[in-house]
């Protein structure tokens, strides 16, 4: 009658279990954009608009010397990619808020899925469109003088994925902490996002700013990430890339520790 007999779920050793579970959490989340492709199309247009409208202004106001001899596009494009990653993965918690209210979060919490996979899977879903977006805007920019180094760009996207896991987990924790007070989530997310962005030199070179801004940028993990992406998009791998990878890994580790704590605190 029944297709399977009663049995316990097989548990695998630590990391294997996390990877296995992450696959299914990610897959479930991906069903949302895949079943509603319009959202994907709009998300592809957004960076193009930004690049097309902000890029020319940047070139004429700041001037070429600030970009270290590169073309404006070569300098600005990796910044846009980091920005999309930032906006996307910091939204991880906002999609969770809805499920916290209805009860599907609770259903999944009672399942054998490992805690960190719940966060990693969701964060990677916010990161996934970035792979398509990043490659697409790179291709579109080639006729305008952008030099495309595909392998470097792919590596850059992987580093952003690692960073995104950390930021996504923090966003997840924020959603849990602000449960039943949704406005707190948005307040904190917006309040933190913009200073972090500006102080990393994503949109305008931080070198053009006063000394205190430069000092502040040293304490911003995003700075190292943006520098790494600029180095990679310019076709080089060096010290900046390494520091960026380190900053991303630290963010991921901190994010996951904070996230798992938030989940456990939520049930006490």
């Amino acid at each position: 009658m029944s297709v399977q007999d009663v049995r316990d779920v097989v548990k695998r050793p630590g990391l294997v279990q996390v990877l296995h579970d992450t696959k299914y959490v990610f897959w479930r989340e991906m069903l949302l954009p895949l079943r509603d492709p319009f959202s994907l199309i709009f998300s592809l247009l957004q960076p193009l608009v930004f690049l097309g409208l902000f890029g020319p202004l940047l070139g004429s106001t700041v001037g070429a010397p600030a970009f270290g001899g590169q073309s404006t596009l070569q300098w600005f494009l990796p910044g846009v990619v980091v920005m999309i990653a930032l906006f996307g993965t910091s939204m991880t918690g906002s999609n969770l808020q809805y499920e916290l209210m209805t009860g599907s979060y609770e259903r999944i919490l009672a399942s054998p899925l490992s805690r960190s996979s719940l966060m990693i899977g969701r964060a990677l879903k916010e990161w996934a469109p970035l792979v398509v977006q990043g490659l697409l805007i790179s291709l579109v920019c080639i006729p305008f003088g952008f030099v495309f180094y595909p392998l470097h760009v792919l590596f850059g996207l992987v580093i952003l994925g690692i960073f995104g896991i950390g930021l996504g987990a923090l966003s997840y924790a924020l959603a849990l902490v602000s449960q039943n007070k949704e406005w707190i989530f948005w307040g904190v997310q917006q309040t933190l996002l913009f200073p972090l962005m500006i102080l990393s030199g994503i949109m305008l070179p931080i070198e053009a700013g006063p000394d205190w801004m430069k000092t502040a940028s040293w304490f911003n993990p995003l700075t190292y990430l943006v520098n790494a992406e600029r180095e990679l998009f310019a076709g080089n791998i060096g010290g900046h890339t390494l520091l960026g990878l380190l900053a991303a890994s630290v963010t991921a580790a901190v994010g996951l520790v904070v996230g798992v704590r938030a989940i456990n605190r939520n049930i006490s």
Binding site: V3, Q4, D8, T102, I267
Partner: protein, 322 residues
Amino acid sequence: MIHTRKLTKNFTVKKETIEAVKGVDIDVAPGELVAFLGPNGAGKSTTLRMLTTLLRPTSGTATVAGVDVSADPAGVRARIGYIGQGNGGGHSFRVIDEMMMQGRFYGMNTTDAAARAQELLQSLDLTDLAKRTVIKLSGGQRRRMDVALGLMHSPRLLFLDEPSTGMDPQNRANLWEHIMRMRAEHGTTIVLTTHYMDEADSMSERVIVIDHGRIIADDTAARLKANLAGDLLAVEVATESAPSVRGLLGRAAAGGEVQENTHDGVVSFRLRLPEGARLAPALLKEMNDAGAPAQSLELKPPTLDDVFLELTGRNLREGADR
């Protein structure tokens, strides 16, 4: 299958400690079907959430399916199924997608998950809604989907928190048919909370009555009723017969209260009588012999609500208030 000792949960709300569950000892053997019955706020759901690792106990121990809930919560989750009070299906997802993913979460392969999903969709009357987005379902349809999600992986121990709330009688019957079939086929152990006394009464073999965070009774529904409540007997006689009947009923009630009401030349008596169905014929004969025949007689078997009233002095449905 379940053993708890002094299981306790305190919540701190605005610096005030609320004792939601006050040291309960519960033992459930494999294959049992147990209902936690009690008013809203009694601590049923809190107990269930501790057993399913969704809440950490403040103190005490609980072993579920052989695993300690505090030491290895993940191990417990791998051995149980849970249907909560809320909507298990994500509102933005399609019904069939959620069911398939649920199967994958519990380690089923695609073929098994698809077959099981079809089986459940059909018997819970959801086949036509498989591709519908959850938010477009009615309340009853969503509740059926919650049940389908919980049954996907055929757990050997299933927890249900207020499973039939919001379901119409037809689907409530379908739900129970499913639960009973799972039990018959797999020997599934089932623990549920309910505030529907008729459900606890007719479906469960064992009822644990919980009130104010404590277990106040634990037995089969039949024994609880027989021992604690007794049948309700209502007799009407003519006014002139009242004095002799009063004496007869007083003796039969053996110290219990006999209510009396007079209107339009008729006196009606009401009393609780253990084993009333067995005693009533003899009582009627005695009344006839005394020249005080009954004009009407009503005998009602007790309900679990009567049991609760007897235990707490409060009605189950209005019992939420302290």
